[in-house]
Assembly symmetry: C2
Homo-oligomer: 223 residues x 2
């Protein structure tokens, strides 16, 4: 089955939204794709015709098995290329997204598998997101939201759920990246903000909002 770049982008967009909400609606997908609701409806018809979608007019929609499979292929490619860009070409992890958006549409299956092997079959991309394997299986990881971790427990950053440029810029400022070790020194009742100690850095304060977007796991796991 062949998909156009546009189809792949919509499939991926639906995938990301349905991870959060189960059923997806037209307007939220339009927002996600930076396009108009009418364009979304047009594409939904095409994807339904290709039997990738559970979709009833006016009722919301989500990927079916075939659609999910297609989405995982694109996600795998995106995350493998991100890994390549950071690990091999030494890009900053906060500047690779746009390039990976292009690379994810290169079609050769042979290429993806060789790339994965070349990279050492990584299980997580530079943002800590899991990379599906060639069968579409996603590795699981025991991770917690930073704000729920007990005081003085040393943990490793494993993922960041909000990947806006603003967020990534901020983390960079605090020297927080994937694999960074840190611990919570103090929790402030007033606003939920945390004083944290980042390994080899001075202690600093982060807001509750930031802490809720940082995932961590016990030291020494993963990758």
């Amino acid at each position: 089955m062949h998909f156009t770049i546009s189809e792949e982008n919509y499939i991926k967009g639906i995938f990301h939204l349905q991870q959060e909400t189960g059923l997806v609606n037209t307007n939220s997908l339009a927002a996600e794709m930076h396009t108009r609701a009418a364009s979304v409806t047009d594409m939904l018809k095409k994807l339904k015709a290709k039997k990738l979608l559970q979709y009833e007019k006016y009722k919301g929609f989500k990927l079916n098995e075939a659609g999910l499979k297609a989405a995982l292929v694109v996600v795998r490619k995106h995350r493998l290329w991100e890994f390549f860009l950071v690990d091999k070409l030494k890009f900053d992890w906060d500047s690779v997204h746009a390039i990976a958006e292009e690379l994810e549409h290169i079609s050769s299956e042979e290429l993806v598998n060789r790339l994965a092997q070349f990279l050492g079959d990584p299980a997580f991309d530079p943002h800590g997101d899991p990379i599906p394997d060639k069968h579409g299986s996603i590795p699981v990881i025991y991770q917690k939201i930073l704000s729920t971790v007990p005081l003085k427990k040393s943990v490793t950053v494993s993922a960041v759920s909000n990947q806006s440029t603003q967020m990534l810029e901020m983390l960079k400022h605090y020297h927080i990246a994937l694999g960074t070790q840190l611990m919570i020194l103090k929790k402030f009742e007033f606003d939920g903000s945390l004083e944290i100690k980042v390994l080899k850095q001075n202690a600093c304060i982060i807001s509750e909002q930031v802490a809720k977007n940082i995932f961590v796991h016990d030291m020494g796991k993963t990758k």
Copy 2:
């Protein structure tokens, strides 16, 4: 200046043809691009509007300075990606063309330059074709057509001008690749065919037609 994938493909097609013939005509470009003459004319108008082309209706056309520059960017990307596929991902040199056709359209300039650096700034791709540098300069190499080389002189294969699948398959059969060392043992007057000795292989016979597509240089040069 931004180009669509289609524009880039036409620019590259024109570049390749004008290397041979100077001025290019509509039908030959249509053949090169596997499309129809009418489609070529349509695109020529667009490229002329973007000031990339010297083009008078019914008179033939060629890239101007700006067009040449654009072509060299695409050629550079194509050849760097081919190098990557063969050198890092261990693809056979005769199976990378189609994938590089897709990769060459990834737009990031930063990506290309980092890729080049990662690969060690190679000057020639796996087919022996020169890779333009970031300014569009093409390395020169002192090479000869195999059929013109004197007997018993040991030379190294540096390029193959006909890169059809058929040709590459044949070379593979004879264990001839870029960098292969060989010498001519005998030339047959009758049909111009050559008996050659490929290093570590038995002697074999190749036709004049094949020999005219193999470029060689003195041992120990290049790369």
